[in-house]
C-alpha cells in the first residue's frame, strides 16, 4: 500500500488528463452525431425492433396482435405465393436499377464535364421536379397519358394514330414512373465520383495510345465504380419496397411485396404476417448488401 504512495500524484494527473481528453473528444462528437443518432434510434431502430418482435407474435380473432410467441407467420412465408411476389419485386427493382444506371451515367458524365456553374444548374434541373410530392407527379403522368389526355389528343391531331391508345395502367407506364422517381438517386452519386475523375488520367491514357473506348472501359469505368455501387444501392433498395407507383400507374392490378406488407397491416389486419414479411425484406436487403461488400469496399461508397 505505502509503496504505491509516491506514484499516486502522477497517476492522478494522468487520470485527469485522460478524463479531459475524453471530454474534449466526446462533447463535440455528441453535439455533431447525437441528434442524428437519437433520431435514428427513435424512428428507425426502435420501430425495427418492434417489427421483429411483432413478427413472432400471433394474430387475434379481431385482427389484433396477441402477445404469445408463435412461428406461424414465418411458416406462412414458405407458401409459394410469397416466393413469386419476391421474385417479381426483385425483377422490377433490377429493371429500375439498370434503367437508371443506363440513363443516369451518360447524364452524370455530361454534367460532370461542364464548368461548375453550369453543372450546378443542371443538377438543379434534376432536383426541381422533386420539390413536388411524388403522388402529385404520379397523378400528372396519369392525366398526361389518359385516354382523352394531351398525349393522345396530340397523337391523333398529328395523324400518328387513328384512335386513342391505352397508355395508363400498363407496365411500360409503371416502369416510366419508377425510373423517373428513382433517377436522381442514381445521378447524384454518379456525378460526385465522375466529377473527381482527373482529366490528366484520361489524357495520359490517350497519350499512351488508348482509343476512347479503351479509355472508358479501362480507366473511367473502374475509377467510377464506387459511384455506380452507391447508385445501385440507392435505387435498388427503395424500388424493392415501393408500392405507390404500381398502385397508381398500374391500376392496382399487380401486387408487389410492398403492397402485400401494406395489405397485411391495413385491409387484411394480420400484423404478425406483415411484420414477418418486412423482416424477410430486411433479410433480403441485408443479404444483398453483404454480397455487395464482397465485391466492393463499402467504405468507398460515395453518397454525394
Amino acid at each position: 500500500m505505502s509503496r504505491h504512495k509516491p506514484n499516486a500524484g502522477a497517476g492522478e494527473l494522468e487520470a485527469i488528463n485522460r478524463r479531459r481528453d475524453v471530454r474534449r473528444k466526446t462533447i463535440p462528437a455528441l453535439a455533431q452525431a447525437g441528434p442524428v443518432s437519437a433520431w435514428m434510434v427513435l424512428f428507425v431502430t426502435i420501430p425495427m425492433l418492434y417489427i421483429i418482435y411483432v413478427s413472432f407474435m400471433s394474430r387475434g380473432v379481431f385482427g389484433d396482435v396477441v402477445y404469445e410467441f408463435s412461428l406461424e407467420s414465418y411458416q406462412t412465408l414458405l407458401d409459394s405465393i410469397y416466393f413469386k411476389v419476391i421474385v417479381k419485386s426483385l425483377q422490377v427493382a433490377l429493371f429500375t436499377t439498370v434503367a437508371c444506371l443506363l440513363l443516369g451515367y451518360p447524364f452524370a458524365y455530361y454534367i460532370a464535364r461542364k464548368p461548375p456553374e453550369v453543372a450546378s444548374k443542371l443538377i438543379m434541373l434534376i432536383m426541381i421536379p422533386f420539390w413536388t410530392n411524388s403522388l402529385m407527379r404520379l397523378n400528372s403522368w396519369l392525366l398526361l397519358f389518359q385516354t382523352s389526355g394531351p398525349v393522345n389528343t396530340f397523337l391523333q391531331w398529328a395523324g400518328i394514330t387513328s384512335g386513342p391508345i391505352t397508355f395508363i395502367y400498363t407496365d411500360p407506364l409503371v416502369m416510366l414512373g419508377l425510373v423517373t422517381n428513382m433517377l436522381p438517386f442514381a445521378v447524384l452519386p454518379l456525378y460526385s465520383t465522375i466529377e473527381k475523375l482527373q482529366n490528366s488520367l484520361l489524357e495520359a491514357s490517350s497519350d499512351l495510345g488508348a482509343n476512347p473506348r479503351q479509355t472508358f472501359f479501362r480507366i473511367t469505368l473502374p475509377l467510377t465504380f464506387p459511384g455506380i455501387f452507391s447508385a445501385v444501392i440507392l435505387v435498388f433498395i427503395p424500388s424493392l419496397g415501393i408500392y405507390t407507383v404500381s398502385d397508381m400507374l398500374g391500376g392496382g392490378k399487380v401486387l408487389y411485396i410492398g403492397n402485400i406488407i401494406k395489405n397485411q397491416f391495413g385491409a387484411i389486419r394480420n400484423w404478425p404476417l406483415g411484420a414477418a414479411l418486412s423482416v424477410l425484406l430486411l433479410v433480403i436487403t441485408g443479404l444483398l448488401i453483404f454480397i455487395y461488400t464482397r465485391f466492393a469496399k463499402l467504405e468507398d461508397m460515395e453518397v454525394v
Binding site: 435514428m40 428507425v44 431502430t45 425495427m48 387475434g60 380473432v61 379481431f62 385482427g63 389484433d64 396482435v65 405465393i81 413469386k84 411476389v85 417479381k88 403522388l135 389518359q146 385516354t147 382523352s148 389526355g149 386513342p164 391505352t166 395508363i168 395502367y169 438517386f185 444501392i233 440507392l234 433498395i237 427503395p238 424500388s239 424493392l240 419496397g241 415501393i242 408500392y243 405507390t244 398502385d247 391500376g251 392496382g252 392490378k253 399487380v254 401486387l255 410492398g258 403492397n259 402485400i260 401494406k262 397491416f265 391495413g266 385491409a267 387484411i268 389486419r269 394480420n270 400484423w271 425484406l281 430486411l282 436487403t285 448488401i289 453483404f290 463499402l298 467504405e299 461508397m301 453518397v303
Partner: protein, 365 residues
C-alpha cells in the same frame, strides 16, 4: 468492426429510404388540445369543446360540420381513413378512445360488439334517429347508419360492346380491358359467389375456390382497380363496378340525364348494399358532443343539405324526402332492383380464405 459499422449504417439508410418510398396513407393526426375533464373536475356535466371523428375522406359536407361547430361552440377534428379495416384496426389495437366517433361498416359490427370495442348507444339521446328506416339499421344498439352504398354495375351504352344484365356478362371476353372496378376481397368475392349461385357471404372453401376461378376471368377484363368515375368519364373504361355515389358524379360529369352511361339493368342477381355507420368507441372522452353530433346528422334538414354534396344512398327517409330535386332524380339512383340486395356479413375465420385467394388473384401466375 469498421466494415460492420458501415454495413449497419448502410442498412439504416436503406431502411430510411424505403420508408420514404411508401406510405400514401395520411397518418391520423392525433387529436390536439386538452380534455375538458382537465378543466373541471366534474367533466361529464360540463360541455366538451372538441369532438374527434375518424371517417372516410370526401364524405361529409364542410358546411354541415362548421354549422355544428358554431351551434355547439366546439371544434370538430376529422381524421381520415383509407380503408374500412383501418377504422377497425384503430378500435381493436388500442387507441380507439382517442376518437369520439369512428366510422365502420356493417361487415365488422358483429366482432366489434363481441369484442367490447364499441359503446352501447342510448337512443333516447338521439331523438332524430327515429327518421332512420329500420330495414337498413343492422345494429341499432351500437351504431347509427350514416350513408350507404350500392355496389353495382354502370356502363357506357355508346362504347360498351355488350349489354350487361348479370354478373356473368362481366367475364365475357368481349370486355377485355374495359372494366374499372372497386377493389378488396370482401367486395369482389361476393359478386363472384352470387354469379355462381352461392351465398354472397359463403364460408365454404370449395365455393370460394370456384369464386376465385371466376374472378381470374374477371381480372382479365379489368383495366384498373379504383378511380372508377375518372376512368369512366375520360374513356379509359366503358364498364364500372362501383359505388352509386361515384357513379352519380360520373353521370353528372357526362351530361346528367342525357349521359350515355346507364345503370346495368340487372334481372336476377342481387347487388351489395353496404352502410357506413358511426360508433362510439369504448372509452371515448367527449360522448356528450358525440351524441349531439349523431342527433344533428340524423336531422332531416341537415342530412338533406349533406346529400346535395354527397349523393350517396341515404337510410334516413325523412332526409330523402327533404333532399333537393337533383338528388331524388339522380340517374345513378334510377334502377328497379333496389330491394334485391345482400349485405356484407362477418365471415369470422373464413376471412383468411378470402384473403389468401385475393392475394393469389392479384399476384397471378
Amino acid at each position: 468492426m469498421k466494415r460492420f459499422l458501415a454495413l449497419i449504417l448502410a442498412l439504416t439508410m436503406a431502411l430510411a429510404l424505403a420508408a420514404c418510398g411508401g406510405g400514401n396513407e395520411p397518418a391520423a393526426e392525433p387529436p390536439s388540445g386538452e380534455t375538458p375533464a382537465a378543466e373541471t373536475p366534474t367533466g361529464e356535466e360540463t360541455a366538451s369543446t372538441e369532438l374527434n371523428i375518424y371517417m372516410w375522406q370526401q364524405y361529409i359536407s364542410d358546411q354541415v360540420v362548421s354549422d355544428f361547430e358554431e351551434a355547439n361552440n366546439c371544434t370538430v377534428n376529422i381524421s381520415y381513413m383509407s380503408d374500412n379495416a383501418d377504422a377497425v384496426t384503430r378500435l381493436t389495437s388500442g387507441g380507439g378512445d382517442q376518437y369520439d366517433l369512428i366510422m365502420t361498416c356493417d361487415a365488422y359490427m358483429e366482432s366489434l360488439i363481441a369484442g367490447g370495442y364499441v359503446e352501447e348507444l342510448d337512443l333516447s339521446r338521439i331523438p332524430n334517429s327515429s327518421n332512420i328506416n329500420p330495414a337498413y339499421w343492422s345494429s341499432p344498439n351500437h351504431s347509427i347508419p350514416y350513408l350507404g352504398n350500392y355496389i353495382y354495375v354502370v356502363y357506357n351504352t355508346e362504347t360498351c360492346p355488350i349489354e350487361i344484365t348479370c354478373y356473368n356478362d362481366l367475364i365475357d371476353p368481349a370486355l377485355k380491358g374495359q372494366i374499372t372496378s372497386i377493389d378488396g376481397a370482401r367486395n369482389l368475392f361476393p359478386m363472384a359467389l352470387v354469379a355462381l349461385g352461392y351465398d354472397p357471404n359463403s364460408e365454404n372453401e370449395e365455393e370460394l375456390a370456384e369464386a376465385y376461378e371466376w374472378l381470374v376471368k374477371y381480372n382479365d377484363n379489368v383495366v384498373a382497380y379504383g378511380n372508377a368515375e375518372q376512368n369512366l368519364t375520360n374513356g379509359t373504361a366503358s364498364v364500372a363496378f362501383t359505388y352509386d355515389g361515384n357513379a352519380s358524379w360520373a353521370f353528372a360529369e357526362t351530361g346528367g340525364a342525357d349521359s350515355p352511361l346507364t345503370v346495368a339493368p340487372f334481372t336476377d342477381d342481387a347487388v351489395q348494399l353496404g352502410f357506413d355507420m358511426y360508433v362510439i368507441p369504448t372509452g371515448a372522452k367527449h360522448t356528450d358532443l358525440a351524441y349531439k353530433f349523431l342527433d344533428y346528422i340524423c336531422d332531416p334538414e341537415v342530412m338533406a343539405q349533406n346529400l346535395e354534396e354527397f349523393p350517396y344512398f341515404c337510410p334516413n327517409d325523412a332526409a330523402v324526402a327533404a333532399a333537393p330535386e337533383s338528388y331524388r332524380n339522380d340517374p345513378s339512383k334510377d334502377f328497379d332492383y333496389k330491394e334485391n340486395v345482400f349485405f356484407q356479413e362477418d365471415v369470422g375465420e373464413a376471412l383468411t380464405i378470402y384473403n389468401d385467394y385475393y392475394q393469389m388473384l392479384k399476384v397471378g401466375e
